[in-house]
């Protein structure tokens, strides 16, 4: 980290052009990882700064997965730091539902809210692969870069995550007495 050259004005300009357009994606991914709008802003901001620090190592490959991978690492470090401060990881992990601001989702329909809640309730491993695929619309290859996994593992994780979400939704909707006909 310390051997990274200090970014100059030209580097910052290039960074602005290449990485800044992906700030929405960085925040969106962080939002689903942390399930908390305040923490998500911290993670996204810290990730942007790290990305700038390491920008000299960016070789003009695909910018979005490169940035999202940094977002993910930043989030993992934050979670670890919380663990070191004796906040058990489950506490960070188990705040499902918390992440969904009920007022914010009031604009969206009841059904959308349930889907968001079902997604938020999934374990991180399942949640993030679904977010990268369905919300950030990344190909398997790009997801593999973000998660640092072989494509085959991405595929099997995605399949499992979809099954989990479908099961969660079935439970959710059935409890409310309007099940999905085809699920």
């Amino acid at each position: 980290m310390s051997d990274a050259p200090k970014p100059d004005a030209g580097t910052v300009d290039r960074f602005r052009t290449v990485m800044l357009p992906h700030l929405d994606a960085a925040y969106g991914y962080a939002r689903w990882l942390t399930r908390d709008p305040v923490q998500a802003q911290d993670v996204a901001q810290e990730a942007m700064l790290r990305a700038l620090r390491y920008f000299h190592a960016f070789r003009g490959e695909d910018a979005k997965p490169w940035l999202l991978r940094i977002v993910r690492n930043t989030w993992l470090d934050l979670a670890r730091r919380h663990a070191a401060e004796k906040v058990p990881l489950e506490e960070i992990e188990d705040r499902a539902g918390d992440g969904l601001d009920p007022e914010q989702s009031a604009l969206a329909g009841d059904r959308r809210r349930q889907i968001a809640a079902a997604l938020a309730a999934l374990p991180a491993e399942a949640r993030e692969v679904l977010v990268l695929r369905e919300i950030e619309d990344l190909s398997y290859k790009r997801i593999a870069v973000v998660l640092d996994l072989p494509i085959g593992t991405v595929m099997s994780r995605l399949a499992r995550a979809r099954e989990k979400l479908a099961a969660g939704l079935r439970g959710h909707l059935e409890r409310r007495g309007h099940g999905l006909p085809d699920m």
Binding site: P7, A9, R31, V38, D42, D101, E134, L165, A166
Partner: protein, 252 residues
């Protein structure tokens, strides 16, 4: 194609990750496999539902913070007027967003103008390189600074022990009146506490509202109307309120 293969291909088929030949092969296999047809329907439905979720773009405050860091790192002379305009635009758009979306907050029902002023004041602090006019964590420095600048002695307390170190103080205008603003930090978050003498008697318990990653506290304690704005979680805002009330009480 045997079913485990077919099953493994459902996701890749929906995701457009199969070659033309593989897709054709999969479609043929599908005809003979009702289980995989059901699986395909389910995968499509899950995918459709997730894609239907509303987009959640980066908040303006985050964008402004990142911009500020980039400018600072680039080490450019700061283009004051333009930058100022941009902040004002950000502040204005945030205020509009907050104002429209705000439900259940007592602040708006009391006075939308007051909330606007507090939010704008908060943004000036959070985005400025000089968030305070008197910078000190020592209340005996900050409190006297207000003397002669404002017609009341605001409650100034360092709350470091509760995790909210005092950064300093500044003046602002709310509803045409000069008010004292005490600025605190919580890690990298700012809290702006605005205080002015209460006109009604007694304490009023704090209501804490949240919107777009901001928390707003609104209460009356120790003879002051108190409004706190910060980009932090509502639970942290509640701890801040408790810590401040305790400090005010121990001072009486």
């Amino acid at each position: 194609m045997d079913c485990p293969t077919c099953e493994a291909m459902v996701g890749a088929y929906v995701d457009g990750e199969l070659s033309v030949a593989e897709s054709a092969e999969f479609e043929r296999a599908l005809e003979a496999c009702p289980d995989c047809r059901r699986r395909l329907e389910e995968t499509r439905m899950v995918s459709g539902l997730l894609r239907d979720l509303p987009a959640d773009p980066a908040p303006d405050l985050l964008r402004a913070k990142v911009e500020r860091e980039l400018r600072a790192i680039a080490g450019r002379p700061r283009p004051y007027p333009r930058q100022h305009l941009r902040w004002m635009a950000t502040a204005a758009s945030l205020i509009v967003a907050l104002g429209i979306g705000w439900t259940g907050a007592t602040l708006v029902s009391q006075s939308g103008r007051e909330t606007d002023a507090l939010m704008a004041g908060y943004l000036r602090i959070a985005m400025s390189d000089h968030p305070v006019e008197v910078a000190s964590s020592d209340r005996h420095t900050v409190k006297p600074w207000f003397a002669g600048r404002i017609d009341y002695a605001p409650p100034v307390h360092d709350l470091t022990t509760a995790g909210f170190p005092l950064v300093g103080g500044r003046l602002d205008i709310v509803d045409g009146r000069k008010v004292a603003v005490m600025v605190y930090r919580r890690n990298r978050h700012w809290i702006a506490l605005t205080a002015w003498p209460a006109t009604s008697a007694g304490d009023a318990a704090a209501s804490v509202a949240q919107r777009d990653g901001f928390a707003l506290g609104d209460w009356r304690h120790g003879g002051f109307e108190l409004r706190a704005v910060g980009d932090l979680a509502p639970a942290d805002m509640k701890s801040f309120v408790t810590a401040l009330d305790r400090a005010v009480d121990s001072d009486r």
